[in-house]
Symmetry: C2
Subunit: 212 residues, 2 copies
């Protein structure tokens, strides 16, 4: 798909552009400039133009970007013009919060199954906001089989740190290609599997630098 | 404190370096190179050397970095050689998960108070892992007064999107300087207040790009 090798750092900025464009579109705006977009996302206009130029022509000098077109192209590049099924593993408070998260709408993701190893939770019903469906907490023992059969390629890992690596190994075995890790530890996975780590301490430290 | 203007993009990488160094230190490693550190964090050795050079001399050509010294210096630069008190607003499942999060230990933060507007929750006890203390859920009505009196400068915002901007306004009024926003919307705050946004869809989109 993406035959030209695009640097990771550029890929990491594209979702931020897409989110800002979708918000502008939701507000009824139809065109923007790299200057305006840059102000919204805190990235220089020159950087935005350079990043987008990796993927071809998006706008014309002087007339700016047509937002619906740019949204369509970025969605396609990020492969979120489709909706990805996502599994959630670890149905503690965090897992429940994620299943009910309202921020996935129209952004390419829906939770379709969830797992826990606690016999007190397995079989319980959970209501997922973003897919308007209720589903049953499955046994982590069945994770490899169920995920493989459903062809789910993304998972959010919300177990305690002590269980996270073992679960990650199972996710890899099940064919998952991307893991969003909420557990406070670094996961070890093969190079073919991507991991993103949600670590609130990192984000707090990015702010304390500025507090005098 | 930080008299030289350091680009935000560099500041955003320092916590990632610090986390990797702390993990190496926890594993008993005492020295490292920009190459080794770069492999752990997925950033080039040249970039790491350039980033650190903003803050003076950290290592010697050929001998690498002495980890305890680098941890001490980075902690000081990020101002996390002290422990910051943090308030959590919105004690739904996510708020509870954050209060009990195990990943803040030794990284400069502890939750000291939490708020909710639900009369069914106000007054309930919550046990916070990272500070080994139990505290009471306070009424959001008292947020400005309580945060101001306690001189808390950081908050994690876990309310529904519909309440988040109003709470952010109160946090600003209370003197909070950094808000970690988990709600799925863009907060509007004065330039003197930093916001970091935890948006899982952004992280999932950073992975789908690579899945073919």
């Amino acid at each position: 798909m993406n035959t030209v090798k695009v640097p990771d750092i550029i890929v990491s900025r594209l979702p931020v552009y897409l989110r800002a464009l979708q918000r502008m579109s939701d507000a009824g705006v139809v065109s923007t400039s790299s200057q305006e977009l840059g102000e919204k996302v805190g990235i220089s206009a020159a950087q935005i133009r350079k990043d987008l130029s990796q993927f071809g022509e998006f706008g014309k000098q002087g007339t700016g970007y047509y937002i619906p077109f740019l949204i369509e192209r970025l969605s396609k590049i990020l492969k979120v013009e489709q909706v990805w099924d996502v599994a959630v593993v670890g149905m503690g408070e965090l897992g429940h919060a994620i299943v009910r998260y309202q921020g996935f709408g129209n952004r390419g993701f829906r939770v379709v199954m969830c797992f826990d190893s606690d016999p007190g939770k397995i079989g319980n019903l959970v209501c997922a906001n973003q897919s308007d469906c209720t589903f049953v907490i499955r046994d982590t023992k069945d994770l490899v089989r169920d995920i493989r059969e459903s062809n789910v390629k993304l998972a959010m890992l919300c177990t305690p740190a002590s269980a996270a690596q073992e679960v990650a190994d199972q996710l890899v075995e099940a064919g998952v290609r991307g893991i969003l890790n909420y557990a406070p530890l670094r996961l070890i996975v093969p190079a073919s599997v991507k991991v993103q780590h949600i670590d609130p301490a990192i984000y707090l430290q990015r702010m304390t630098f500025y507090i005098d």
